[in-house]
């Protein structure tokens, strides 16, 4: 074979490999699934979500059904002393007005997870649009936009959220907006920084020099490189949002009875901790486990998407 033919063959081979090459995301998925903590986190989280969705089918009790004969009863299997023990399907016992705790914890999961996902989505949309605009336009527009974020950042936001919640009578919709409005700032900063640096990278220049279309540059080079940190941050925002929601609910400013969330259940449990510790233990356990799952997944994603760390 001639030398020219050989080079041509190698070139074709290289191109072939580039075309069929493993993308960042395939690599990342493989790395993520090798991470035991992250996989466990995903499995447990899926189980909790499924339980929350199927709550009405799983429990034979309604979340607001009151049984006056079973007030503050421990579950049947409770190993410690308790004034009364509930039999039947009251797996987690009953609360201070005789409602089944198991089904209430699952309904709490519905609210907490819904708030977590929706408010994160709100912050994602606002943050990505704002951050990408600032990063892409650059210059004076960027300076002004980010200065606004800096000012908002220095506000004690949680106090504004509290004022909002108190003043507008614990409106559920407003809670999403208020929490989303708090967490989009960090998202905007991350996206802006990523866009700014991605825009100027050599590989973008190289791609342009190689004649890749602008659309190709954006979809194959900029988005994958900007998306990594954003995905990680989204995973870590959900538990943050769940925490803010339960914080508000704990202070009595969140969701209203008979609906419930983990924060409300924990607040109730904290009040009766001496007489009925199970009212605190189970909601706290569910929330704790869920938060851990998100953190494990987030850490796993960060390791998977950022090969530089290796």
């Amino acid at each position: 074979m001639s030398a020219a033919g050989q080079t041509g063959g190698r070139k074709a081979q290289t191109l072939e490999r580039a075309f069929a090459g493993r993308s960042l995301w395939v690599d990342a998925r493989a790395r993520l699934f090798r991470n035991k903590a992250a996989v466990t986190g995903m499995a447990v989280l899926a189980a909790v979500t499924l339980l929350a969705i199927l709550a009405p089918l799983i429990s034979r009790y309604a979340y607001d059904a009151i049984d006056y004969d079973l007030v503050s009863c421990a579950p049947g299997w409770w190993p410690f002393e308790a004034t009364c023990k509930a039999g039947g399907a009251h797996w987690f016992g009953t609360d201070a007005v005789g409602r089944d705790l198991f089904v209430r914890v699952l309904y709490g999961a519905r609210v907490s997870l819904a708030v977590g996902f929706v408010a994160t989505l709100v912050s994602l949309v606002i943050g990505v649009l704002y951050g990408a605009t600032a990063g892409y336009l650059g210059g004076r527009v960027d300076a002004v936009m980010m200065r606004a974020v800096d000012i908002l950042y220095s506000l004690p936001f949680i106090f504004f959220v509290i004022i909002l919640m108190v003043m507008f009578d614990r409106n559920f919709f407003l809670m999403f907006v208020a929490i989303g409005a708090v967490v989009w700032l960090t998202m905007a900063r991350i996206v802006r920084g990523q866009t700014l640096s991605a825009k100027q990278k050599e590989y973008i220049e190289a791609a342009r020099a190689a004649g890749v279309s602008p659309f190709g540059i954006i979809t194959r080079h900029i988005i994958p490189n900007v998306a990594g940190p954003v995905v990680v941050y989204v995973t870590l925002t959900v538990p943050d949002v769940i925490l803010i929601e339960s914080f508000l609910s704990f202070l009595g400013l969140g969701i209203q009875e008979p609906l419930t969330s983990w924060g409300v259940l924990i607040a109730d449990g904290a009040n009766t901790i001496e007489a009925a510790p199970w009212l605190l233990v189970f909601p706290a356990l569910f929330m704790g486990v869920t938060l851990f799952c998100f953190n494990f997944i987030g850490d796993g994603l960060r390791d998977a998407l950022d090969p530089k760390d290796y």
Partner: protein, 314 residues
């Protein structure tokens, strides 16, 4: 340096102004007012009360009046606690909150930094893993869960330690007695210990890899001297800029902790005042918090510039 400090200080004024304005109009936009009692007042009396507090004037006039008084340092009277001015109420509550927060910060700094350094020096050994698991725990579990659980363990059941019954008070302030402060301070400090341990570990590991540490080792310094005199100084620098967020975190936590442990600080005022539509008291507490956060961010920036000559250039 002084010029920079002055510029930063001037920059804080508009921020504070925006906060005050936003808080003022948000509260007034809300339904209800401070004199909506369960028992409806006769219209004449309600009118007189409103007139006494200027609440019958147009909103913008009220805003002007409030800002005018604020500029003279007058936070106005409390609408609900009628015998007190807002300044007096904050004067009672603030020392309590500050004492609690300061104790928590000192505890968090001491434990967080030592744990972080320990983990960094034993990187990828069991010490490192246990510190990092603890940190994960501290970051994930919120104060309103740790507070009741610690109360149950140390306050209700009590624990026999060193042959002595160790039961701590579960609530109340008792004039700031140490026994009353232990549980709330630990609860407030836990998340900060966790975050500080993570930050310290990260920056310590980075510093230990740098060339001048290798030089220090190569010239035969003891391991202790390398860590304390050379590595720690550089590793702790990034922590200074965490001072602002740490204080914000502790303020947020104090809302919960003061509520749970029944501590008479300004965090409790804030929630109650917001529920009561006690406009002036809410404003007073917001201003107080905002000023505190801005001040500490300011101090952190200045400190950073003083400690790290590299920052001063830009």
């Amino acid at each position: 340096m002084i010029g920079y400090a002055f510029k930063r200080f001037l920059g804080a004024v508009p921020t504070l102004f925006i906060i005050v304005t936003a808080a003022f109009f948000m509260m007034r936009a809300a339904p209800g007012g401070p004199f909506d009692a369960a028992r409806k007042l006769p219209p004449e009396i309600e009118h007189n009360m409103k007139a006494a507090y200027d609440l019958d004037k147009p909103l913008l006039v009220q805003y002007g009046l409030y800002m005018g008084r604020l500029a003279q340092g007058d936070l106005g009277p409390s609408f609900k606690s009628k015998d007190f001015t807002v300044a007096q109420l904050i004067g009672i509550g603030l020392p309590v909150s500050v004492r609690l927060g300061l104790a928590a910060i000192v505890l968090a700094a001491a434990f967080g930094v030592s744990l972080g350094v320990w983990a960094a020096l034993r990187q990828n050994q069991w010490q490192d893993y246990s510190v990092m698991s603890f940190a994960m725990f501290g970051i994930t579990i919120p104060t309103f869960v740790t507070a009741p659980i610690l109360t149950l363990i140390f306050g209700v059941y009590g624990i026999n330690m060193f042959g002595r019954e160790l039961t701590l008070p579960v609530g109340g302030w008792n004039g700031g007695a140490v026994r009353n402060m232990i549980l709330p301070v630990i609860v407030l400090a836990l998340p900060q210990i966790a975050i500080l341990a993570r930050l310290t570990r990260g920056s310590m590991i980075e510093v230990l890899r740098s060339n001048y540490i290798r030089t220090a080792r190569a010239k035969g310094l003891s391991a202790q001297a390398v860590v304390v005199r050379h590595a720690l100084r550089a590793a702790l620098l990034p922590l200074v800029s965490y001072l602002g967020p740490a204080v914000a975190g502790i303020l947020t936590g104090s809302l919960v902790v003061e509520q749970i442990f029944g501590i008479p600080g300004i965090g409790r005022y804030f929630i109650q005042a917001a529920l009561d539509r006690d406009y002036t008291l809410v404003m007073g507490v917001v201003i107080c918090y905002a000023a505190l956060i801005i001040l500490l961010n300011f101090i952190a920036d200045i400190l950073y510039g003083l400690l790290d000559p590299r920052v001063r250039v830009s």
